[in-house]
């Protein structure tokens, strides 16, 4: 295949057990050629295990993995044509940067001159040409990261796999490397699966985000879709900082009824326990009685660009982002207001999003 060959990756009903521990459950997804897919989820949810199965480092218990059209489920890792960047970078400490980058070519018995040219080219892409003779221990974290990247790109694999490649870097460097990564993936056009538990990374890097919890795929979609239209309580609560506010209540007779809340609801939703969710940045604090429902001020904290107001509502607390000039007295009564379309209703038992939405009082 020529370079620039972007390959699709398809996973069908993949399962993995560690002893009795069902770590990946029926995982199915398709990554389009050249797509940057981010696998996002809390620690221990099976992201790494999924990635390692794609790489072939871990055998799947059932299901299949397709690269392009070929089934690679039972193919040894070295024949899969995938490259992986490890969280620890996995640089060989006894080899120089050039030897590290050139290792995949050395393994393939490529002649010296070609190899040196390729190493220089790959090093240039990650701005590491000046460091070719150093050893990994003489490099900073970010530089090591780049060497690992160069080693992955040098052989033009069909798929890049990256397992939290930025998590060992400090915050500033992480932001910088993120941009570099995104640019490079775009320039190379290689299909990429990227694992992280950092939602900012996921939002900024991904073409599409796949969110996992306890081994189950919760939702897959563009960052915008996942953020603005969460499929369930887990996704809603996982994305965003601070996360979405939840108010517990019931849907009865076309109304959502909670502690001090009674709002008309339109859509297909029979009587049931439900949760109302809305994002802190979508809501405003207004004078008591002037909003959708009233609440009591618990605290107001200035975090820099915004003031984060925490309100109590029965047993629930909700957080709302207000302009930084906003001030409020402890325990004063206020009201919360937001566009009814920005509220989400979930089934309390299953967590699934309900096909219903709020409507402004009076409009119902």
């Amino acid at each position: 295949m020529p370079s620039g060959r972007a390959t699709s990756l398809t996973i069908n009903r993949l399962n993995k057990y560690f002893g009795g521990n069902h770590v990946v459950k029926d995982l199915s997804l398709t990554v389009a050629p050249g797509e940057f897919l981010v696998l996002l989820g809390p620690s221990g949810c099976g992201k790494t295990t999924g990635l390692r199965m794609i790489a072939g480092l871990e055998a799947a218990d059932s299901g299949e993995i397709l690269l392009g059209d070929s089934d690679v489920t039972h193919v040894l890792p070295k024949y899969r044509d995938v490259a992986m960047v490890f969280q620890s970078y996995a640089l060989y400490p006894h080899k120089t940067v050039a030897e590290n980058i050139g290792f995949p070519l050395k393994v393939r018995g490529i002649d010296r001159a070609t190899m040196e040219r390729a190493v220089r080219e790959a090093a240039a892409q990650v701005h590491m040409v000046d460091y070719l003779d150093r050893y990994p221990r003489q490099l900073s974290g970010g530089q090591r990261q780049r060497v690992a990247l160069a080693r992955a790109i040098i052989r033009r694999p069909a798929v890049f796999l990256m397992d939290e490649p930025l998590s060992n870097l400090d915050a500033k460097l992480r932001g910088y490397m993120r941009a570099e990564l995104k640019h490079m993936q775009h320039a190379l056009g290689v299909t990429t699966v990227y694992v992280t538990h950092d939602q900012v990374e996921a939002m900024t890097l991904a073409h599409r985000v796949a969110i996992m919890d306890h081994g189950v795929l919760q939702q897959i979609g563009t960052p915008r879709e996942v953020y603005e239209s969460p499929a369930n309580l887990f996704v809603a609560g996982f994305m965003g900082a601070p996360p979405m506010n939840f108010v517990r209540g019931r849907i009865e007779q076309g109304r959502f009824v909670g502690p001090g809340v009674a709002l008309p609801v339109a859509g297909e939703a029979g009587p049931r326990d439900a949760v109302l969710g809305f994002r802190p940045e979508d809501a405003r604090v207004v004078a008591a009685g002037a909003g959708l429902f009233d609440a009591t001020v618990f605290a107001a904290e200035l975090t820099g660009d915004v003031t984060l107001v925490t309100l109590t509502l029965g047993e629930d607390t909700v957080a709302i982002k207000m302009p930084k000039e906003y001030e409020a007295d402890f325990d004063s009564r206020v009201a919360v207001d937001f566009a009814p379309a920005r509220g989400f209703l979930f089934d309390a038992a299953s967590g699934a999003r309900l096909p219903a939405h709020l409507v402004r009082a009076g409009a119902a």
Partner: protein
């Protein structure tokens, strides 16, 4: 004036003057005892060096300690061994070097490979197969020893039987042993006193006409030291981050390349220490050489031991020279290897 009262005299000796220091008395005792032991270690070595410079008459007329003061140093023993008697000495020396170094290289290579395999690859040999193997082995031995059947025939038949039976019964009984058991089995070979196995080994080498050859000793030394290598290196390999190997695997490297190009270089401190230890053991080995070499393949320890048999009694001066020239290669290797050896190398393995 400090407010604290001056400590009583006995306090001054028993309490440290500064934080983190020893009390003066403790220091004296510690250095005294350590110095005493150092003297106990060094004096015999000094005596050997001095004796190697003495004439027989200096040795026989009582203890003299200081060259040039007590007696006139003389190189006759050195000359006798290295010039007049050069033939046998150098042959034994060469034998020792060939045997010790070859067996060390072989042993470290085979042992590290096995240790690596046990650290990284999962094995599940069936219990039944092992049982059948032992039975086939016993059968073959009885056939050869008691019934007098040719050993080649017996071996072939036993192997064939083993393969057939293992295939037939292997699936029926699922019990299997694990890597840990294999590791323990290999390491436990070290418990075997060499005398237990040496007689059949002697007969075995005799029947293939390898007695008194380098090869026989090299093989025997390799086997007795194998458990040590496997044990020490296993510990090292498990400590190498597996990421490195997985990454190489994805890059297309074969197991052998991963082992020789990545794992071994990373285990260099352990490798150096293990090599040194095995080399010392092989270099100084005595019992196996006593059984397996008679003249041509005689090693230095045998040469040294044989000096006892002279009718003039022991030639202490010659003996001293031999002891000295026997230490030299070991010290040389220790100096070469020691810069690779991390401190506390043995410790890791011993901790278990």
């Amino acid at each position: 004036m400090s407010i604290a009262p001056r400590p009583a005299v006995h306090r001054r000796w028993l309490e440290p003057a500064r934080i983190g220091a020893m009390s003066p008395l403790g220091g004296i005792v510690a250095y005294g005892l350590l110095g005493l032991w150092a003297a106990f270690v060094l004096f015999p070595l000094y005596w050997v060096v001095v004796t190697s410079l003495k004439l027989p008459v200096d040795v026989n007329t009582g203890p003299y300690f200081l060259p040039w003061v007590d007696f006139v140093p003389n190189l006759h023993a050195w000359r006798g061994l290295l010039v007049d008697d050069a033939g046998p000495t150098f042959r034994a020396y060469l034998n020792s070097i060939i045997i010790a170094f070859s067996s060390t290289v072989l042993c470290v290579l085979i042992g590290s490979m096995a240790a690596y395999a046990l650290a990284r690859i999962e094995y599940r040999p069936r219990l039944v197969s092992i049982l059948i193997f032992v039975l086939a082995l016993v059968g073959a031995c009885v056939a050869v020893g008691v019934a007098g059947i040719d050993w080649r025939v017996a071996t072939a038949v036993a192997l064939a039987l083993f393969v057939l039976l293992a295939r037939a019964l292997g699936r029926r009984f699922p019990g299997a042993v694990h890597n840990g058991d294999i590791l323990f089995w290999i390491i436990s070979q070290r418990i075997l006193p060499p005398v237990v196995t040496i007689i059949p080994i002697y007969m075995m080498f005799q029947s293939v006409r390898l007695l008194d050859t380098h090869l026989a000793l090299i093989l025997a030394y390799t086997v007795v030291n194998l458990p040590i290598v496997v044990w020490l290196m296993y510990d090292f390999f498990t400590k190498i981050p597996i990421d490195l190997e997985e990454s190489a695997q994805l890059d297309g490297a074969s197991r052998f390349l991963i082992f020789f190009d990545i794992v071994l270089p990373l285990a260099r401190p352990g490798l150096a220490a293990t090599t040194l230890l095995v080399l010392i053991l092989a270099w100084n080995e005595y019992v196996l050489a006593l059984f397996l070499s008679t003249s041509r393949a005689q090693t230095m320890p045998i040469l040294v031991a044989a000096m006892n048999a002279g009718e003039k009694g022991i030639l202490w001066w010659t003996m001293s020279v031999v002891i000295i020239i026997m230490i030299l290669p070991v010290i040389l290797m220790a100096l070469i290897l020691q810069r690779f050896i991390a401190r506390g190398v043995l410790l890791g393995a011993v901790k278990g």
